[in-house]
Protein backbone atom coordinates (compact mmCIF):
# COMPACT_ATOMS: atom_id res chain seq x y z
CA UNK A 1 0.00 0.00 0.00
CA UNK A 2 1.37 3.40 -0.94
CA UNK A 3 1.88 6.19 1.58
CA UNK A 4 -0.93 8.04 -0.11
CA UNK A 5 -3.38 5.31 0.68
CA UNK A 6 -2.44 5.43 4.32
CA UNK A 7 -3.07 9.16 4.43
CA UNK A 8 -6.37 8.54 2.71
CA UNK A 9 -7.37 6.09 5.38
CA UNK A 10 -6.65 8.60 8.11
CA UNK A 11 -8.62 11.19 6.18
CA UNK A 12 -11.53 8.86 5.63
CA UNK A 13 -11.71 8.17 9.34
CA UNK A 14 -11.39 11.84 10.16
CA UNK A 15 -14.15 12.78 7.74
CA UNK A 16 -16.46 10.09 8.99
CA UNK A 17 -16.16 11.29 12.56
CA UNK A 18 -14.66 8.01 13.74
CA UNK A 19 -11.53 7.97 15.87
CA UNK A 20 -8.42 6.72 14.13
CA UNK A 21 -7.77 3.66 16.24
CA UNK A 22 -5.38 0.81 15.55
CA UNK A 23 -8.21 -1.61 14.80
CA UNK A 24 -9.83 0.64 12.21
CA UNK A 25 -6.57 1.42 10.53
CA UNK A 26 -5.51 -2.21 10.08
CA UNK A 27 -8.96 -3.26 8.91
CA UNK A 28 -9.08 -0.53 6.27
CA UNK A 29 -5.48 -1.16 5.22
CA UNK A 30 -6.23 -4.81 4.66
CA UNK A 31 -9.37 -4.18 2.63
CA UNK A 32 -7.77 -1.35 0.64
CA UNK A 33 -4.76 -3.27 -0.48
CA UNK A 34 -6.13 -6.71 -1.20
CA UNK A 35 -8.35 -7.25 -4.16
CA UNK A 36 -10.61 -9.61 -2.26
CA UNK A 37 -13.92 -9.84 -0.48
CA UNK A 38 -13.12 -11.11 2.98
CA UNK A 39 -15.39 -12.88 5.40
CA UNK A 40 -14.81 -11.81 9.03
CA UNK A 41 -13.05 -15.12 9.68
CA UNK A 42 -10.70 -14.56 6.74
CA UNK A 43 -9.87 -11.09 8.00
CA UNK A 44 -8.92 -12.38 11.42
CA UNK A 45 -6.70 -14.96 9.79
CA UNK A 46 -5.08 -12.47 7.40
CA UNK A 47 -4.41 -9.98 10.18
CA UNK A 48 -2.99 -12.68 12.43
CA UNK A 49 -0.58 -13.70 9.65
CA UNK A 50 0.63 -10.12 9.35
CA UNK A 51 1.36 -9.92 13.02
CA UNK A 52 -1.59 -7.60 13.58
CA UNK A 53 -4.00 -9.75 15.51
CA UNK A 54 -7.40 -8.41 16.42
CA UNK A 55 -10.07 -9.72 18.72
CA UNK A 56 -13.19 -11.01 17.08
CA UNK A 57 -15.45 -8.71 19.08
CA UNK A 58 -13.49 -5.66 17.98
CA UNK A 59 -13.58 -6.78 14.37
CA UNK A 60 -17.36 -7.17 14.31
CA UNK A 61 -17.93 -3.93 16.22
CA UNK A 62 -15.77 -1.99 13.82
CA UNK A 63 -17.09 -3.55 10.65
CA UNK A 64 -20.55 -2.47 11.75
CA UNK A 65 -19.39 1.12 12.36
CA UNK A 66 -17.45 1.27 9.10
CA UNK A 67 -20.45 0.03 7.13
CA UNK A 68 -22.70 2.49 8.93
CA UNK A 69 -20.40 5.36 7.93
CA UNK A 70 -20.14 4.08 4.37
CA UNK A 71 -16.37 3.43 4.44
CA UNK A 72 -16.91 -0.24 3.71
CA UNK A 73 -19.74 -2.15 2.09
CA UNK A 74 -21.20 -5.41 3.26
CA UNK A 75 -22.32 -7.97 0.74
CA UNK A 76 -24.08 -11.28 1.12
CA UNK A 77 -22.75 -14.40 -0.57
CA UNK A 78 -24.97 -17.00 -2.24
CA UNK A 79 -24.67 -19.09 0.91
CA UNK A 80 -25.71 -16.25 3.21
CA UNK A 81 -22.19 -15.51 4.44
CA UNK A 82 -21.14 -11.89 4.84
CA UNK A 83 -18.22 -10.39 3.00
CA UNK A 84 -16.74 -6.91 3.12
CA UNK A 85 -15.55 -4.71 0.32
CA UNK A 86 -13.56 -1.48 0.32
CA UNK A 87 -14.77 -0.58 -3.15
CA UNK A 88 -16.87 2.56 -3.06
CA UNK A 89 -17.67 3.03 -6.70
CA UNK A 90 -20.99 1.63 -7.83
CA UNK A 91 -20.45 -1.84 -9.15
CA UNK A 92 -21.93 -5.31 -9.41
CA UNK A 93 -20.60 -8.75 -8.68
CA UNK A 94 -19.60 -11.95 -10.38
CA UNK A 95 -20.00 -14.84 -7.96
CA UNK A 96 -18.73 -18.39 -8.16
CA UNK A 97 -21.57 -20.70 -7.21
CA UNK A 98 -19.16 -23.40 -6.08
CA UNK A 99 -16.54 -21.64 -3.90
CA UNK A 100 -18.28 -18.34 -3.19
CA UNK A 101 -15.53 -16.16 -4.65
CA UNK A 102 -16.74 -12.67 -5.53
CA UNK A 103 -15.20 -10.37 -8.13
CA UNK A 104 -16.18 -6.73 -8.63
CA UNK A 105 -17.48 -5.97 -12.09
CA UNK A 106 -19.01 -3.10 -13.98
CA UNK A 107 -21.98 -3.81 -16.18
CA UNK A 108 -21.56 -3.19 -19.88
CA UNK A 109 -24.82 -2.31 -21.54
CA UNK A 110 -27.74 -0.31 -20.27
CA UNK A 111 -30.27 -1.42 -17.67
CA UNK A 112 -32.63 1.35 -18.70
CA UNK A 113 -34.88 -0.94 -20.64
CA UNK A 114 -35.10 -3.52 -17.88
CA UNK A 115 -38.15 -3.47 -15.66
CA UNK A 116 -39.97 -5.75 -13.29
CA UNK A 117 -43.48 -7.02 -13.50
CA UNK A 118 -45.19 -9.12 -10.85
CA UNK A 119 -45.38 -12.86 -11.32
CA UNK A 120 -48.45 -13.27 -9.20
CA UNK A 121 -51.52 -11.31 -10.15
CA UNK A 122 -52.15 -10.34 -6.55
CA UNK A 123 -48.88 -8.46 -6.24
CA UNK A 124 -48.91 -4.80 -7.13
CA UNK A 125 -45.53 -3.24 -7.74
CA UNK A 126 -46.67 0.17 -8.92
CA UNK A 127 -46.21 1.75 -5.50
CA UNK A 128 -42.72 0.48 -4.83
CA UNK A 129 -39.92 3.00 -5.01
CA UNK A 130 -37.08 1.36 -6.90
CA UNK A 131 -33.69 2.43 -5.62
CA UNK A 132 -31.37 0.12 -7.47
CA UNK A 133 -31.15 -2.55 -10.13
CA UNK A 134 -28.43 -5.01 -9.28
CA UNK A 135 -27.06 -7.57 -11.65
CA UNK A 136 -25.45 -10.65 -10.23
CA UNK A 137 -23.44 -12.79 -12.61
CA UNK A 138 -23.42 -16.32 -11.25
CA UNK A 139 -21.02 -18.83 -12.68
CA UNK A 140 -17.98 -20.99 -12.16
CA UNK A 141 -14.52 -19.54 -11.69
CA UNK A 142 -11.65 -21.19 -13.60
CA UNK A 143 -10.43 -23.12 -10.54
CA UNK A 144 -13.87 -24.56 -9.86
CA UNK A 145 -14.39 -25.53 -13.49
CA UNK A 146 -11.21 -27.56 -13.25
CA UNK A 147 -12.33 -29.10 -9.96
CA UNK A 148 -15.70 -30.06 -11.45
CA UNK A 149 -13.95 -32.25 -14.02
CA UNK A 150 -13.03 -34.73 -11.32
Amino acid sequence: MATNDYKNILEMLENSGLRATRARKIILELLAEKNRHFTPEEMLEALRERGQPLSIATLYQNLARLVEKGLVIKIVGLDGSFRYDFNHDPHDHMICSRCGKIVDVVVKGSLEGISAQPMDAEDDLTNWKILEKRVEFVGLCPECQAAEQN
Copy 2:
Protein backbone atom coordinates in the same frame (compact mmCIF):
# COMPACT_ATOMS: atom_id res chain seq x y z
CA MET B 1 -55.76 -24.66 -1.76
CA ALA B 2 -57.73 -26.51 -4.41
CA THR B 3 -57.97 -30.31 -4.43
CA ASN B 4 -55.92 -30.26 -7.59
CA ASP B 5 -53.01 -28.63 -5.82
CA TYR B 6 -53.05 -31.28 -3.16
CA LYS B 7 -52.89 -34.00 -5.80
CA ASN B 8 -50.06 -32.10 -7.42
CA ILE B 9 -48.14 -32.10 -4.19
CA LEU B 10 -48.52 -35.85 -3.84
CA GLU B 11 -47.42 -36.25 -7.44
CA MET B 12 -44.44 -33.98 -6.99
CA LEU B 13 -43.28 -36.00 -4.02
CA GLU B 14 -43.88 -39.25 -5.85
CA ASN B 15 -41.91 -38.06 -8.88
CA SER B 16 -39.03 -36.82 -6.79
CA GLY B 17 -38.65 -40.16 -5.07
CA LEU B 18 -39.41 -38.71 -1.64
CA ARG B 19 -41.93 -40.36 0.65
CA ALA B 20 -45.17 -38.48 1.13
CA THR B 21 -44.87 -37.78 4.82
CA ARG B 22 -46.95 -35.42 6.92
CA ALA B 23 -44.09 -32.95 7.30
CA ARG B 24 -43.43 -32.69 3.58
CA LYS B 25 -47.09 -32.33 2.74
CA ILE B 26 -47.75 -29.49 5.18
CA ILE B 27 -44.56 -27.65 4.19
CA LEU B 28 -45.41 -27.81 0.48
CA GLU B 29 -49.05 -26.89 1.12
CA LEU B 30 -47.98 -23.81 3.02
CA LEU B 31 -45.52 -22.66 0.37
CA ALA B 32 -47.88 -23.45 -2.50
CA GLU B 33 -50.80 -21.50 -1.20
CA LYS B 34 -49.19 -18.45 0.32
CA ASN B 35 -47.71 -15.84 -1.93
CA ARG B 36 -44.77 -15.27 0.40
CA HIS B 37 -41.15 -16.10 0.96
CA PHE B 38 -40.95 -17.62 4.39
CA THR B 39 -37.95 -17.82 6.67
CA PRO B 40 -37.79 -21.14 8.58
CA GLU B 41 -38.91 -19.32 11.73
CA GLU B 42 -41.94 -17.89 9.93
CA MET B 43 -42.87 -21.33 8.64
CA LEU B 44 -42.82 -22.82 12.12
CA GLU B 45 -45.01 -19.98 13.34
CA ALA B 46 -47.45 -20.25 10.42
CA LEU B 47 -47.76 -24.01 10.80
CA ARG B 48 -48.26 -23.71 14.55
CA GLU B 49 -51.09 -21.23 13.97
CA ARG B 50 -52.78 -23.70 11.64
CA GLY B 51 -52.65 -26.43 14.23
CA GLN B 52 -49.98 -28.26 12.24
CA PRO B 53 -46.92 -27.88 14.43
CA LEU B 54 -43.61 -29.24 13.26
CA SER B 55 -40.31 -29.67 15.02
CA ILE B 56 -37.53 -27.38 13.95
CA ALA B 57 -35.18 -30.27 13.18
CA THR B 58 -37.74 -31.84 10.87
CA LEU B 59 -38.36 -28.54 9.14
CA TYR B 60 -34.69 -27.97 8.37
CA GLN B 61 -34.10 -31.56 7.35
CA ASN B 62 -37.01 -31.48 4.94
CA LEU B 63 -36.27 -28.07 3.48
CA ALA B 64 -32.82 -29.36 2.60
CA ARG B 65 -34.29 -32.47 0.91
CA LEU B 66 -36.92 -30.46 -0.95
CA VAL B 67 -34.33 -27.99 -2.23
CA GLU B 68 -32.06 -30.85 -3.25
CA LYS B 69 -34.90 -32.36 -5.30
CA GLY B 70 -35.80 -28.99 -6.80
CA LEU B 71 -39.32 -28.83 -5.36
CA VAL B 72 -38.48 -25.69 -3.44
CA ILE B 73 -35.89 -22.99 -3.96
CA LYS B 74 -33.78 -21.30 -1.32
CA ILE B 75 -32.98 -17.65 -1.60
CA VAL B 76 -30.84 -15.31 0.47
CA GLY B 77 -32.21 -12.00 1.69
CA LEU B 78 -30.19 -8.78 1.77
CA ASP B 79 -29.56 -9.41 5.46
CA GLY B 80 -28.27 -12.95 4.85
CA SER B 81 -31.42 -14.68 6.07
CA PHE B 82 -32.67 -17.70 4.17
CA ARG B 83 -36.11 -17.77 2.63
CA TYR B 84 -37.92 -20.50 0.77
CA ASP B 85 -40.08 -20.34 -2.28
CA PHE B 86 -42.25 -22.93 -3.98
CA ASN B 87 -40.39 -23.51 -7.19
CA HIS B 88 -42.19 -22.29 -10.23
CA ASP B 89 -40.81 -20.77 -13.39
CA PRO B 90 -37.48 -18.94 -13.49
CA HIS B 91 -37.89 -15.50 -12.05
CA ASP B 92 -36.15 -12.65 -10.29
CA HIS B 93 -36.90 -10.71 -7.15
CA MET B 94 -37.90 -7.30 -5.92
CA ILE B 95 -36.60 -6.80 -2.42
CA CYS B 96 -37.48 -4.18 0.18
CA SER B 97 -34.24 -2.89 1.67
CA ARG B 98 -35.99 -1.86 4.88
CA CYS B 99 -38.17 -4.85 5.85
CA GLY B 100 -36.69 -7.60 3.68
CA LYS B 101 -39.93 -8.45 1.90
CA ILE B 102 -39.40 -10.31 -1.35
CA VAL B 103 -41.78 -10.36 -4.32
CA ASP B 104 -41.36 -12.59 -7.36
CA VAL B 105 -41.02 -10.72 -10.61
CA VAL B 106 -40.32 -11.43 -14.22
CA VAL B 107 -37.88 -9.19 -16.03
CA LYS B 108 -39.22 -7.23 -18.97
CA GLY B 109 -36.53 -6.49 -21.49
CA SER B 110 -33.62 -8.56 -22.62
CA LEU B 111 -30.43 -9.23 -20.70
CA GLU B 112 -28.68 -10.38 -23.84
CA GLY B 113 -26.73 -7.17 -24.26
CA ILE B 114 -25.61 -7.05 -20.65
CA SER B 115 -22.13 -8.25 -19.84
CA ALA B 116 -19.58 -7.94 -17.08
CA GLN B 117 -16.13 -6.48 -17.22
CA PRO B 118 -13.63 -6.56 -14.39
CA MET B 119 -13.21 -3.44 -12.26
CA ASP B 120 -9.70 -4.29 -11.17
CA ALA B 121 -7.11 -4.77 -13.89
CA GLU B 122 -5.72 -7.85 -12.19
CA ASP B 123 -8.99 -9.76 -12.46
CA ASP B 124 -9.51 -11.81 -15.56
CA LEU B 125 -13.06 -12.89 -16.25
CA THR B 126 -12.55 -14.47 -19.63
CA ASN B 127 -12.28 -17.98 -18.21
CA TRP B 128 -15.35 -17.88 -16.05
CA LYS B 129 -18.31 -19.91 -17.20
CA ILE B 130 -21.37 -17.72 -16.73
CA LEU B 131 -24.43 -19.73 -15.72
CA GLU B 132 -26.93 -17.06 -14.89
CA LYS B 133 -27.58 -13.32 -14.91
CA ARG B 134 -29.75 -12.35 -12.00
CA VAL B 135 -31.43 -9.02 -11.61
CA GLU B 136 -32.34 -7.85 -8.16
CA PHE B 137 -34.64 -4.85 -7.89
CA VAL B 138 -33.94 -3.20 -4.55
CA GLY B 139 -36.34 -0.61 -3.25
CA LEU B 140 -38.90 0.36 -0.66
CA CYS B 141 -42.28 -1.32 -0.45
CA PRO B 142 -45.34 0.92 0.04
CA GLU B 143 -45.54 0.19 3.78
CA CYS B 144 -41.91 1.09 4.35
CA GLN B 145 -42.19 4.28 2.34
CA ALA B 146 -44.98 5.33 4.69
CA ALA B 147 -42.91 4.35 7.73
CA GLU B 148 -39.92 6.35 6.47
CA GLN B 149 -42.01 9.56 6.59
CA ASN B 150 -41.91 9.48 10.38
